[in-house]
Symmetry: C3
Subunit: 308 residues, 3 copies
């Protein structure tokens, strides 16, 4: 089974009703979406490059391509590397904005790495969650312009990255985006929720989070979860056109305006990062959650018929 | 004049401009919408069953059919009965959700019983309002899945019941739904307002509450006051399909998510229930309000030409 | 170059991409939109009437026509006059509402007068900003019904006047409306922002304010920045029809409802008016802002090729 085919197979849980509703007893299957694939990819990739940066100082923006195969799942090391890069962008006097995309076909990011939640020691869990908070704070609170060029699936943490940007363009195609945590038996943290409310409004968020809804690109456009669709081949071009438009706005005024819009939402997490981390640790250490994770991981080891 | 025809006649105040705007001097006519009908129905119904419950333990949900003829208006006794039933649902380990509908053709609920506001003693008024608060807290704050199958008119308190559910399907047809309190000379309480904002957003609520707008089913769908329309004959089937979808979501995660969305709105009332009750008592005891109510009730005793 | 043609020329900055993006280095050009025109009109108009009031006591509403040529820009004296008039309306027992429009063809209001920000003394700046706060508090917090009949361009402060009303009807035609402050190098104050969020929602506001977006009338309707479009010749008739509808709502209930919706937003400014004024003074006294203003004003003195 190819990586991509497998990614589709897992994601199809979100759209195929019968499969979707078998999720309750196998709570975590869809979570890291393609976690098994990550394992398949194996240690051979240990020294691989996790992202590329194309910096265009003349035009004043960079392109950041996530490249942590197979599915850009977010673990402690990857988040740490990302945070360092985001900090570099923030301090740069030469770039005004960043286009965030992925170099992996059909996958923007599969979200949090499930292995960061299974049988973790408290220390590691705490570091992981702190790193994830940091990523969101840096991205959502950035003075720079961030445009997400969503080239493929973007569930859970992948959706969080997207909605933390200033503008979203998504490839047309059979891709899904959404905060589907509920389907995996877990609750989206309050700052995922607030970022979603700020993007698609209260009522749509209430429905989407309760149902763990994964939106097709057309559905995402209809509820303003993304701002624009593009043919895959035009995605980066369109993102660059949009970036040029944003770069032309007087910088200080744009920064002050962005900060004025997002300050309150950011403050809520910043004021309680430790409590939020503690709550993550306690939640993942519940027997019921660990049991679900174990069942899920064991299921990945068994050969199974493709449902595709 | 048949009950239904009469219900239409009164509700038509909401759509026919000329009639609507004659409302100011007859402030309360539309309020309990079909209050006269309630009186017509008379004491013969004193021992009638006010609602039916169809519990389907196999499928994991119940159907609650309001049956307090003629128009499911909400008085202290009915609310008290409802609150006991909602509590039973909440404690049940066998059901995950409830479809809320009415067994009365063309009427979901006409809202609050006007007789609970006319010449009430403080004690009764206080008990009535406390019971209504309790209904909203139990419904909007429930861990269970509530789906409103709105089979007919749903003004004022009927609209509140609807928007306190998780999902709303409304029958196509000449039915109206909305918070039309302003037309009756009163202000919707802040928790009606907040529930409305959480459903259709701030701006639409601002317009709707100032104008006392009653939406047709198509209009209600357009502003997301309801999530879906159905032919009357398919209403319950569609509600059951939707319920199956919601029941398939992992329960604890869905409950935590729902609670996370609604906690702040609920807390605002819970923190000031007594002050809110006091404010209701003081408002309804105003001479101007009592005068409006008396004029309205007297107008009901006179024969009048049908405007239908 | 005629006044109107010139107004169009300046406003076209908002729609023509290449011109728009040349704005960064000439930060303030679009700000008072037609400031040069104001100067052209010159002192000859010193004793002119700045607005007309048509009071129709029988129908119960007034029409307020802004008439401070050439473009209804808002300076201290004009705001002070307006505030006195708004106070008169508020105290009137004979009128329930006011239609706010302009007697100047194609211009509703160009917003704040840039001369109130260039080389101002602290005293004058403070008085100016306090008067503007007062206008917003009186308008957004009014018990009366305000309907904006937007007969032409309505950028920046003109947009603020519009969104502080209860209902907006805009003329079809090549007119623009929006909070475009960012394009001029400044940040819209938080109460401009909050009024915008209350009108078009959080996400649309976040995009609009960052980009300084000026909406065409059709775009404004699509995002609910205005409620209705009308042919220019029908604008006042439509506004009067709408006013009749609002006037028919029981007055006290409507007032209480409006106040309940807007109280929190108003309180935020009322609680910190002085700090907000101080922040305006400090911001406009920055060298970078004064330099931008000077360059802009100097550019107005030079003859230049029409870009129209």
């Amino acid at each position: 089974m190819s990586i991509i085919k497998s990614a589709f197979r897992v994601l199809r849980f979100g759209s195929a009703k019968n499969q979707l509703f078998s999720l309750e007893s196998k709570t975590c299957r869809a979570f890291s979406v393609c976690n098994k694939l990550r394992q398949d990819a194996s240690d051979a990739n240990a020294s691989k490059i996790n992202f590329y940066v194309d910096e265009n100082k003349e035009k004043g923006y960079a392109i950041l391509k996530l490249n942590k195969g197979p599915v850009n799942s977010l673990n402690l090391e990857f988040l740490t590397e990302l945070n360092i890069q985001l900090e570099k962008f923030e301090e740069s006097k030469e770039i005004k904005g960043v286009i965030l995309t992925s170099s992996i076909p059909n996958i923007f990011s599969a979200g949090l790495d499930i292995m960061e939640m299974y049988q973790i020691k408290q220390d590691r869990g705490s570091q992981f969650w702190t790193a994830l908070q940091e990523t969101w704070i840096k991205l959502y609170g950035s003075n720079k312009i961030y445009i997400a060029a969503i080239n493929g699936h973007s569930p859970a943490g992948g959706c969080l990255l997207s909605i933390s940007c200033d503008y979203r363009i998504m490839s047309k195609g059979p891709y899904k985006i959404g905060l589907n945590e509920t389907l995996l038996g877990i609750k989206a943290p309050f700052w995922f929720r607030d970022t979603m409310i700020n993007t698609i409004g209260y009522r749509e968020t209430e429905k989407a989070l309760q149902l763990g809804k994964l939106y097709s690109s057309e559905e995402a456009l209809a509820v303003n979860l993304v701002d624009e669709l593009a043919d895959s081949k035009d995605l980066i071009t369109k993102a660059e056109e949009q970036m040029s438009k944003w770069c032309a706005i007087p910088t200080v005024a744009r920064e002050l305006t962005k900060s004025s819009m997002r300050r309150d939402t950011l403050s809520k997490l910043i004021a309680q990062r430790e409590a939020d981390t503690q709550s993550f640790i306690e939640f993942t250490q519940r027997d019921s959650i660990q049991k679900s994770l174990r069942m899920y991981l064991e299921s990945l080891k068994k050969p199974k018929k493709s449902s595709a």
